[in-house]
């Protein structure tokens, strides 16, 4: 102890941080911004795949991937918000399934003329309410978020299947079909087929922008990180834990509700058994994006990168002749490698900070 202190005493006049930043090498940059690792990985994969099979860069495949990223992306933004606050959620897919199926059924049976904007709004509101239930339970029961959301996943899904319905809805209301089809960009490929980038694709970047604004431009964002960094200290400093918990879970719920409706419209049918089971893939994307499962870290940009990485891996392996069954092996390996990298780097960085060289 005394050794460390006297080192700093002698150098009291010098600004302290100066010794930490400038000589930080590439590896340190990666440690501080883990999402860069995934970004490099993403770029490397894209380049490699494009070289092996130029079809990767065709509008068809790009648009396919863009469409495929929307639902995962919305989920991931929600999961990121919760992870940042030090929680975890595995119930968001059940919230999405609940919102999409019951709302589709409601529109079909009760309010066929409901405008699309209202449908989206109700989906978000419903998801928010279910998410808020999670947040309330986590805060009031002081039970681990994992346990609470495993419970609510079963609960939400059970209620959906037991009381609302188990029949696939193959005929969607026309306004939802139209929303799923409405084209932002039509591309005609070499063989004469038309691929469409639908307007709903924009939901993902818009949600990402909103999440970014919340995290970087509002006190809420800082409060979420503060809670993830050290909940006890955050509470002591006046960040209301109840508000933070309710907010992140409600926000993730709202995004999940939105994702559910987008999913239905994109697939042109509502299957109540859908979506649940994809949680781990989404959490994997967020973790690859640099958010630590222990909370307090991560960024929206990293989350988007993680989503793109997972989407690309899920879609391109076939293009280069790797069987699709290998997707999981690849994603699993990425996660382990990234985790191992960060753990070792983190350790080195900290031990260096503890013992500054004389």
């Amino acid at each position: 102890m005394t050794m460390t202190q006297s080192t700093f005493d002698n150098r009291n006049a010098a600004p302290p941080a100066g010794r930490h930043h400038p000589r930080a090498g590439l590896a340190d940059t990666f440690t501080r911004h883990p999402e860069l690792v995934s970004l490099c990985l993403l770029v490397a994969i894209c380049v490699a795949v494009a070289l092996i099979n130029p079809a990767f860069l065709s509008p068809t495949s790009l648009i396919d991937m863009g469409r495929a990223s929307v639902v995962t992306g919305l989920f991931a933004l929600g999961v990121f918000s919760i992870l940042a606050a030090g929680g975890i959620d595995v119930s968001f897919t059940a919230i999405a399934a609940f919102a999409m199926y019951s709302l589709t059924l409601f529109v079909l049976k009760v309010a066929p003329d409901l405008p699309m904007a209202a449908i989206l709004l109700i989906a978000v509101a419903g998801g928010t309410a279910l998410g808020a239930v999670n947040g309330w339970l986590v805060h009031e029961l002081r039970v681990a978020a994992l346990i609470v959301t495993i419970g609510t996943q079963y609960l939400f899904r059970g209620i959906l299947l037991a009381f609302i319905g188990t029949v696939w809805l193959m005929e969607l209301p026309p306004q939802m079909v139209a929303f799923g089809k409405a084209s932002m960009l039509d591309v005609t490929t070499a063989n004469g087929a038309t691929v469409t980038l639908p307007w709903y694709f924009l939901v993902f970047p818009a949600a990402a922008l909103l999440t970014w604004a919340i995290f970087n431009r509002t006190l809420m964002g800082r409060a979420i990180f503060a809670t993830g960094g050290n909940p006890e200290v955050a509470a002591r400093l006046g960040y209301d834990q109840r508000t933070v918990h309710l907010f992140v879970f409600a926000f993730a719920g709202g995004l999940a509700g939105l994702a559910g409706i987008v999913h239905v419209c994109a697939n042109r049918m509502a299957n109540p058994f859908d979506l649940v089971g994809t949680e781990i893939g989404v959490i994997a994307a967020v973790v690859l994006g640099g958010a630590r499962i222990t909370g307090g870290t991560g960024s929206v940009l990293g989350t988007v990168t993680g989503v793109l990485l997972i989407t690309v891996v899920n879609n391109v392996l076939v293009l280069v002749g790797i069987p699709s069954t290998w997707q999981r092996v690849v994603v699993g390996a990425f996660i382990l490698l990234a985790a191992a990298f960060f753990v070792t780097r983190r350790g080195k960085l900290q031990s260096r900070n503890r013992k500054p060289s004389p």
Partner: protein
């Protein structure tokens, strides 16, 4: 800001404050009055209620009874945001910094949080954040470069963190700044900076409340002394009016004539020798011996290295320098298993968290070290033998129940401690390290535990008691080692040592102690 006449209305008053945590009565009717522009020194031994009282002032705890009068308004409790809005800023001993946020955010976010009365759905004003942070950092002598402002606190060394924590406290218009042991990790130069800051704050009519062990600094800063003992405020008055000896006496309170438990004498055979032992930045150059049947006390402040030494002996902390000998032969202790194999037992400070399987029965807690002795014919644990073994241990330890199936969580602190000691006695240890053996234990149980300790010494076990309870050490030990700044700075005989001398060695700055 306009302040009303400070002589006429105190800034903060506590009246009849009680605080209970489960069965522990931490504050037992505290009355305190704090006025603007005054410096206060809250003194007392560990566990006297100092931390609890500042947590009540800063809104982190709600009192169980009593009222808080803030600026003339009565409250039954404060919330963190209410306290901050009123200008009560706290620098906790753990600094309460958010490791994953930047220096600027740690220093200046509070201002915007308080401006919005704690509401979180508000825009973040980054320009103002950086302005406020720069101003506050300059006040504590840190040059607010862009690099520093943007550094995450987890990447800062401890001494800088401490100043960042102080910068946060003065970043807003504080009216009372509470500092919980602010100088423990500061160097002399940094302490000077802190004292300057305090002077400036008082000139601005801000009250400052120090919680500290370092009397020397209290006298330099001046102001009022507030002495706590056993959850009560036992004295309050100008600090210049008290001598060091008087303050020590008030803090320790000699009202009960302490009885010395130690009657036996240690054997002559040397059991264990520590030779220039060191462990990273925890402690270094520790040389000591322990004889058969000897009781060795080790004390010091919480950052003195005493805890680290206890952990190292138990194999919970890496030994980086020096060596340990047992019976004259060098031994290695790298893991708890090695330590146990050598016959060294360890009773941890945090009984509930580290020592006991709290939901399991007395039986399950007493037999884990002797599983090989209670095996049945199939190589599985025989419940019959286990029961018999547990009965013997319970009787030996004089537990207040004969039911070995009772969960240990249902026992009192003293009985829990005896279950834990009994577990170790079952393997007839040669050395037993007791870390804070009577923390959270009532007076009656203390008596039984001290008798047990003396009993063990009579059986020839070498005992090491690591504790900050000085009367406990004086009543039980043959010798007492005092640690300070990672070193052993004094050694005294248990029957002739005075509490004052030990205190002086504990509290001396490392430089003085080295003399």
């Amino acid at each position: 800001m306009t302040h009303s006449d400070p002589t006429d209305q105190p800034f903060l008053e506590l009246r009849g404050i009680h605080k209970r945590f489960g069965g522990v009565h931490a504050l037992r009717g505290v009355d305190l009055t704090l006025r603007a522009g005054e410096a206060y020194h809250l003194l007392g031994e560990n566990g006297c209620g100092k931390s609890t009282v500042i947590k009540i002032m800063s809104g982190a705890h709600a009192p169980s009874e009593g009222e808080i009068i803030l600026d003339g308004r009565r409250h039954s409790e404060l919330s963190p945001i209410m306290a901050l809005e009123a200008g009560i800023e706290t620098v906790y001993q753990d600094l309460s910094l958010l490791p994953n946020l930047t220096v600027a955010e740690n220093v200046a976010l509070g201002e915007q949080l308080v401006a919005g009365h704690g509401r979180l759905l508000r825009w973040l004003d980054r320009a103002r954040l950086s302005e406020t942070a720069k101003k506050a950092l300059r006040e504590v002598g840190l040059e607010p470069t862009r690099a520093l402002l943007g550094t995450r606190v987890s990447d800062l060394p401890l001494a800088i963190r401490q100043r960042v924590a102080i910068a946060r406290a003065i970043a807003q218009d504080a009216r009372l700044v509470i500092m919980d042991e602010p100088t423990t990790s500061l160097t002399r130069h940094e302490v000077e900076t802190l004292i300057e800051v305090v002077g400036r704050l008082r000139a601005q009519n801000v009250a400052v409340l120090f919680v500290t062990h370092k009397l020397e600094e209290c006298y330099r800063i001046g102001g009022q002394a507030i002495v706590f003992r056993d959850g009560l405020c036992v004295a309050q008055g100008p600090i210049a009016g008290y001598s060091r000896a008087e303050l020590s006496e008030l803090m320790t309170g000699r009202e009960i004539e302490a009885r010395r438990y130690r009657e036996g004498h240690p054997g002559t055979a040397e059991l264990m020798r520590l030779d220039n032992l060191g462990s990273g930045d925890g402690f270094h150059g520790v040389t000591a011996t322990l004889h058969e049947g000897e009781i060795l006390g080790i004390t010091g402040l919480s950052d003195s290295g005493r805890n680290e030494l206890a952990l190292a002996l138990a194999g919970h902390r890496e030994i980086t320098d020096g060596r340990i000998e047992m019976d004259g032969a060098p031994v290695r202790i790298n893991t708890p298993a090695q330590s146990i194999a050598l016959g060294i037992g360890y009773v941890p400070e945090d009984r509930l968290g580290e020592g006991l399987f709290i939901e399991k029965s007395i039986l399950d807690n007493e037999v884990p070290l002797i599983l090989d002795r209670i095996l049945g014919p199939m190589g599985t644990v025989s419940r019959t033998k286990a029961r018999a073994a547990a009965r013997t241990i319970s009787e030996d330890m004089k537990l207040n129940t004969t039911d070995v199936d009772l969960p240990v969580g249902a026992l009192s602190g003293g009985n829990q401690q005896r279950v834990l000691i009994g577990r170790w006695l079952s393997i007839a240890p040669r050395v037993l390290v007791l870390h804070g053996p009577t923390v959270g234990v009532d007076v009656g149980s203390k008596d039984t535990i001290y008798r047990t300790i003396q009993d063990m010494a009579e059986r020839g076990i070498g005992l090491v008691i690591v504790s900050d309870d000085l009367p406990e050490l004086l009543q039980n030990c043959d010798r007492i080692l005092v640690m300070n700044g990672g070193r052993v700075v004094a050694e005294t005989a248990g029957d002739t040592a005075s509490e004052d001398d030990i205190y002086r060695a504990m509290l001396a700055s490392p430089a003085e102690a080295a003399e």
